[in-house]
């Protein structure tokens, strides 16, 4: 089998050092309903252990109570580990008057390459007009937007968004999560070229990586783990042992996100 490399490395618990891996969906911080006991040092050690070169990351504090403090936390992280992290600016649409100023503040600080929105945590649908400054900013700066997307109804929001903002790359975090939602997300990706599907999630359904790659294309699917909210390692195993060719694995693991972020 051409990709025994992945199987052997994973079974031996060894880093996938020959592959560029960019995790597009990471976090730092805590949550209220279960113990997350993984600081930045432990996160980097986990990345080294399995071969994740870099990650796009947002603060769990931003997504919950304090978007400014959380964004500052990410800025410090990016500075502490040069080349390992790309910051995701989190804004809270419930403070609409501060969206633009926070985007500008973070962008001017440096270290941020994406915007992260969380319609569920912030209780504001992705197509709410409060997000208008976000999509305009993304379009101006030519950066992508990663959104938490869970369920069919949330996926549906992006049919209009993808059409209204054709020069914004929307990464569907979790690609809808549930299987029917993921199927719809694939339809969405087939209709609009500015949609990218993120495999992050806690339910690692057998066959869904293969489905997404087959139906949406190997260039449209990106790796994500949700670490430190979730563990990186299962996500590595899920893609590494998926029934897709080595070339597709390399694209999913990192080459696609390299392209999305405009990295050389």
């Amino acid at each position: 089998m051409e990709d025994m490399y992945f199987y052997n490395k994973i079974l031996h618990g060894e880093a996938l050092d020959d592959v560029f891996i960019l995790d597009n969906h990471m976090h730092l911080g805590k949550v209220n309903d279960f113990p997350v006991q993984c600081d930045d040092g432990q996160l980097v050690r986990m990345m080294d252990r399995c071969g994740v070169n870099a990650g796009c990351i947002s603060s769990l504090l931003s997504l919950s109570e304090d978007f400014r403090k959380g964004n500052d936390e990410i800025r410090r992280l990016v500075k502490k580990y040069p080349g390992r992290f790309f910051g995701q600016i989190v804004i809270n649409p419930n403070f609409p008057g501060e969206i633009r100023s926070e985007l500008n503040r973070c962008w001017n600080m440096g270290g941020f390459r994406q915007i992260k929105i969380h319609p569920v945590f912030h209780q504001c649908d992705a197509d709410d007009k409060k997000y208008l400054p976000v999509y305009q900013f993304a379009s101006e700066k030519k950066i992508s937007v990663l959104s938490h997307v869970w369920g069919v109804e949330q996926v549906k929001k992006f049919f209009n968004l993808a059409r209204e903002y054709p020069d914004v790359i929307f990464i569907l975090g979790h690609s809808g999560g549930e299987i029917p939602a993921q199927r719809l997300a694939v339809e969405l990706a087939n209709r609009y070229s500015n949609i990218v599907l993120d495999i992050t999630g806690s339910w690692h359904y057998e066959g869904m990586i293969e489905f997404m790659v087959r139906e949406a294309g190997e260039d449209r699917v990106v790796f994500g783990s949700d670490a430190v909210f979730l563990d990186i390692f299962p996500a590595i195993g899920r893609v590494g042992m998926a029934g897709i060719p080595r070339q597709a694995k390399e694209k999913v693991f990192g080459l696609n996100m390299k392209r999305v972020l405009g990295l050389t």
Binding site: Y7, L11, Q37, S202, H204, E206, G237, M241
Partner: protein
């Protein structure tokens, strides 16, 4: 048993059989399972039959016996129900029937959506006592019960080995006190995708009460393997989780 990096992988949580909702529960037969196991480096698996949960346990168990007849690498796990209504064997007859068919573990689906019975002693006392006496491990999915219920059973039947499967990432504040309070509770690892947590749990409790499982064919084998293989614990500890603990429980 095949060893990879000194570790043998024995999946404690697989299913086979036909499913009426393949998107929710993929269809998988014994040969398909074996093929996928070989691909992923898994040597053996303990399996239950979908028909046991979705149709009828007795019929499903019989079907499972014939599906796995002669198999050296895939082992049957029977689904049991309390047989007060006469639709299952008496508790005292269970060990003999299991031995006849080479079955060493049982599973229950008590939820209202499945077999609709109580796990409380007023229903299950005789069964628990038989399982205790014969040291037959009892598997139950967390989605079928509650932590309160697991604790009640484990505390009430101290020699009963209870393996909780499908323990998701949000359960850390339940798992720790339960593992402390009840030494007869085991956790199947596949869904416990919390960073550094399996290493931390093993550091606190030792590796003996964690069992490698995948949830295949619904969930990815690769995901479950990597959750264990990339841990920082020793290879010896990984080996116990990957297969040693299950082998010990099955009395193999």
């Amino acid at each position: 048993m095949q060893q990879i990096n000194g570790i043998t992988w024995f999946d404690c949580n697989c299913s086979i059989g036909f499913s009426k909702l393949p998107e929710d529960q993929p269809v998988c037969n014994a040969s398909g399972l074996k093929e996928h196991m070989a691909c992923c480096g898994i040597s053996e698996a303990l399996v239950w039959n979908i028909a046991c949960r979705n149709y009828d346990p007795m019929t499903g168990n019989q079907e499972l016996n014939s599906m796995l007849a002669g198999s050296m690498s895939i082992h049957p796990m029977w689904t049991i129900i309390p047989g007060h209504a006469g639709d299952f064997c008496k508790p005292e007859d269970l060990p003999g029937e299991m031995k006849k068919h080479g079955v060493k573990a049982v599973r229950v689906f008590p939820s209202a959506e499945c077999h609709n019975f109580s796990l409380k002693p007023w229903t299950m006392d005789k069964i628990y006592r038989v399982l205790e006496e014969y040291q037959i491990p009892l598997f139950i999915g967390l989605e079928q019960t509650s932590w309160e219920e697991v604790h009640e059973i484990a505390a009430g039947y101290g020699k009963l080995k209870i393996i909780v499967t499908g323990v998701g990432y949000r359960n850390g504040r339940m798992v720790y006190p339960l593992m402390e309070a009840c030494r007869n509770v085991y956790i199947e690892t596949s869904m416990f995708k919390v960073p550094c947590e399996l290493d931390r749990l093993v550091g606190r409790f030792g590796p003996e009460r964690f069992l490698f499982g995948t949830g295949y064919p619904k969930y990815s084998m690769g995901s479950a393997i990597a959750l264990v293989s990339y841990c920082s614990m020793s290879n010896e500890e990984k080996g116990l989780i990957a297969s040693g603990n299950l082998i010990e429980l099955l009395g193999a």
